[in-house]
Symmetry: D2
Subunit: 147 residues, 4 copies
């Protein structure tokens, strides 16, 4: 079981004039989910940048919107790794409203790895690879992305 759960209460700054969480903000919640996922698996994104000078920029993102989140709703973000390779990492997300226990959005985000100084593609950091190899050996393999 490698799904992690994060919480976020929707702020006024996050919603639009329909009163809904603005559509790009779901990707912000996805970020929160994957940083928490990594932290709980013993890998701190911040240290990777500081110590290894590596970053994990997004290469593909998608989101399907099922039901709106509103101001003051408690969002539950369920995050899991669904595929990984030596150079890519793919997260899947489900976002629920806690009060209504309703699925509000689903999504996927694929990350690559670059060095911060040159911006050149690199292999994922060893500590992260070790975690993935131990935790999710069966999900090794890059997820096919469109385009």
């Amino acid at each position: 079981m490698t799904t992690h759960e994060s919480q976020y209460r929707i702020l006024y700054r996050d919603i639009d004039s329909m009163g809904y969480l603005y559509y790009s903000r779901y990707l912000d919640l996805f970020e929160m989910g994957r940083v928490e996922w990594m932290r709980e698996e013993g890998f701190r994104y911040r240290d990777m940048e500081a110590d290894l000078r590596l970053a994990l920029p997004v290469t593909h993102a998608k989101c399907q919107y099922h039901s709106p989140l509103r101001f003051d709703d408690h969002a539950q973000i369920h995050t899991d790794v669904i595929a990984w390779s030596g150079t890519t990492l793919c997260f899947a997300y489900q976002i629920f409203s806690q009060e209504r226990q309703e699925l509000c959005a689903t999504g996927e985000v694929e990350l690559g790895c670059v060095d911060l100084d040159q911006g050149r593609p690199q292999r994922l950091p060893k500590a992260l690879m070790d975690t993935l190899t131990t935790l999710l050996p069966q999900r090794n393999g890059r997820r096919k992305q469109e385009g």
Copy 2:
């Protein structure tokens, strides 16, 4: 030719600590693109909300990231409608950096239509349907979305 072009200069607030445009902000640029597209085709999003009490919430969004946009870059957003039906409208985007004439991102966003008072699905406003029928008869048909 129904591709419209918008401009946006990347602000400091938009970038992350890699110095790149943060990944969810591309979806904000997509919004800019479609509002401009509609305005140039004679349809004002704002008036639709005020006069018809209708809104066009996003149902699906995806983005592929090719090359980063950075602080102070001029982004060119190319926007086109690639499919539409009585209840859906699908935009495709290409974002270029003006200085480097480089393709930075591509994406698609599908919108539905709801009334603002109940949030119930509605048909697209007639004025918008008329524009689409005249302008893009050959793209009538809903684009298959995953999930």
Copy 3:
């Protein structure tokens, strides 16, 4: 004792290319602080909008920046009401980094009250006035604002 405390972990989307929390985002944390303050005092901002058709737009805001918050820092937001009148409410904030126990920013935000339908000035909702009268009778009086 009417100071309330909220928590927020700084996301990648919140920081700039210096690696610091972007300066306008402190005002977003202030919002989080005052919504929590009201909730803990028994007053739900969301219900006020839905039931009374009233909102509390900001009339003045200021922030002094002492020490930067960074990605993945835990921000502690201390919120208190420092003045109120029949038509205004003024919050003061202190934001600390939890890890370093350092004062990062201080600020003040004054709110007015308007009806959502016309945007006309109104008196604060009675439930909120009752709370303020009971809790903070000695802070009754509008805080002088510049300009």
Copy 4:
């Protein structure tokens, strides 16, 4: 005459459920204003970071809100330097709605200067000092800030 003018059309992502530009976003417009001010005076913020490894973090910000900006409004941002010293730079702003020719907000932002590597206070870059000395000798002197 050292007031510069920038334009920004308010996006859906920028507004809140009152339909108003969210209060912290005015500070984003202030940023746009000062980057443009510097560019027009021959000083590129981006180059300063890249070439000199210096940045200009905000030390004080304030904003007074007179009348709301709404979705699709054209904001005019008037930016001027009102004070400067060897280590500080203070901008004043007026934001108007172009359609209504109405003053919507006024504000001030004071910047300091730090090196990007250590985050230590530094003197303003010489090129910027030269510009200020030539352009605004009479405004030399730090503006008194509260707190």
